[in-house]
Symmetry: C2
Amino acid sequence: MNKRVNLKIKDLEIFVTNILKKCGLDEEDAKTTCDVLLLADKRGIESHGIARLQKYVNGIKQGTIKITNKIKIIKETPVSLVIDGEGGMGQPIAYKTMKLCIEKAKKNLICFATIRNSNHYGIAGYYTLMALKEEMIGISLTNSAPLVVPTFAKDAVIGTNPISVGIPAEKEKAFLLDMATSTVPRGKLEVYARLGEPISHMWATDENGIETDDASKVLNNLIDRRGGGLSPLGGSSELTGGHKGYGLGALVDIFSGIFSSGEVGTDVYVKKGESSGVCHFLGVINPEAFTGIDDIKKNMDYYIKMLKNSKKASGQNRIYIAGEKEFESEKRNIDKLSVQDKVFSTLNLIGKEFNLKLKAI
Amino acid sequence: MNKRVNLKIKDLEIFVTNILKKCGLDEEDAKTTCDVLLLADKRGIESHGIARLQKYVNGIKQGTIKITNKIKIIKETPVSLVIDGEGGMGQPIAYKTMKLCIEKAKKNLICFATIRNSNHYGIAGYYTLMALKEEMIGISLTNSAPLVVPTFAKDAVIGTNPISVGIPAEKEKAFLLDMATSTVPRGKLEVYARLGEPISHMWATDENGIETDDASKVLNNLIDRRGGGLSPLGGSSELTGGHKGYGLGALVDIFSGIFSSGEVGTDVYVKKGESSGVCHFLGVINPEAFTGIDDIKKNMDYYIKMLKNSKKASGQNRIYIAGEKEFESEKRNIDKLSVQDKVFSTLNLIGKEFNLKLKAI
């Protein structure tokens, strides 16, 4: 077991925001980025939390992430936007775009934005949550570094390309889907590789495109681009529905990278130091486009109860709704966070460079 | 092996349309319904083709499907529609709604429609294809009879709730995703039950909600409502990503049944003879909302080639794009269709009642 360290959210906010400011981000962008990272940790998605700070700092240093404090609107209609992120930090780009989408959806009921030339934007669900706070339906998709092998292919061509959709409810917690279109994220393989345990045959394929239970092999193959990688949701074969996960992953690439005339597939993160070319797709639908917020929230409560009150499988005592575990985790972590010892020391290593120090509780 | 019979498309068109007219549908609705059914067979999706005619005829006789020749617009905005199908035949309801969506998307760039109180509408992809013919992006979702067991649940609560999205390409065939959110459809279990072969553990759970390889048991349990059913895409466990397929299935229920204030989950197809309450969600996005049709089609060609030209897994010689196999099947079946002997005799049994006869070639 990894040792863990407790940290105050307040301390983390100051520390992470200051580091990002020292890297060149303005106050607003640093705060937004910090907020997206901390929310991931609070919601229990550690792979997308402050553990990634090092990658962002490196990205800025290497020039993959440019210092900008605006987004460029390439095209605007009453119900849509095409945005160029100009290689900036993903979180503020997506945040600012989602803000615009919410404003437009308030007026015109629907707004979709496709964004090119951005960077890793953290958890997809952050932006759907922005819509939920306004009692709107939120959509958030992004492409990412090629790690997933299409059905019958040998090489990783598409990203883990997540899909997030959020629907408000009344007394129940909102429905908040936020899922990679691969069976598991790369982080899961890293955990199994460290433990030396075999992985499920549904998770990944080797350098020949054949299912494997060897996590270390898959990770090394990905680093050396020898072939193989993560399997789409449904696994590597049509028998178990892998072509569906592959289709969904491609769909995310299309909405993000094709509609914005940005990068897709293996063109994302091609060279270190150059723009990553990550593309997103964000959307807001005003419930007034349909039967209205009151009816929809009531209907959602009814449906959520129907699912949760359904009979449990043998050995199970609870049925979850998408996002439910994460909302509960967020509630537990309002004031403080427990992070891995290793993450804590890495944060202080980054801080040292900028004369900043993070204290444990 | 089942024996197969060859039939002329022209003969089938006349035969099926006439039966539907004799059942009470008007000329236009009968033709639409026939067209949806035949396209399914042409595209190789036999489970949703003319083999279902018996079910539709029974539905009309039992009153589950009402004879209507219109759709009722409950709410209309520049970018959305809420439709009540008033219990009518699903295909004409969805066809007419999609026509309206296309018109509105031509003017206002985006139109989404949520439809309550409809019936089984055939292949979801039929309606996305309507958008593709107009060089638009099409979306088609529907809920259906509860057959799928949520993660950690024992009973089938949600339908196989398909997702179809279509994106136009230039020289390449369009990208046309059309997938159930279960790992496999019920029809697949029926094939294995007939053959007495074990099914994949990713496909279904037994009356205790535990994975099983016994197709007959699952089918009988579903009929007798003893528990168990199809597993979501990703299987019955979180380890293999089943919660993602469950989340996607619920999402389809929400867009179709919650946004329209219609039926969801176990409220769909509750009682024989009563309205099924099936709900759909249809959408059209005009490429001009984003970087425009010319750019998007060119980008799609580039992406499709990237995927198809990628290296193949050991033992594989081709990578497919969503919908590609079906487009090739459609091309093969332009003039004639090969159907199962059993389907042919059932069709003639239905025809006999109406003094109609279908001849084999």
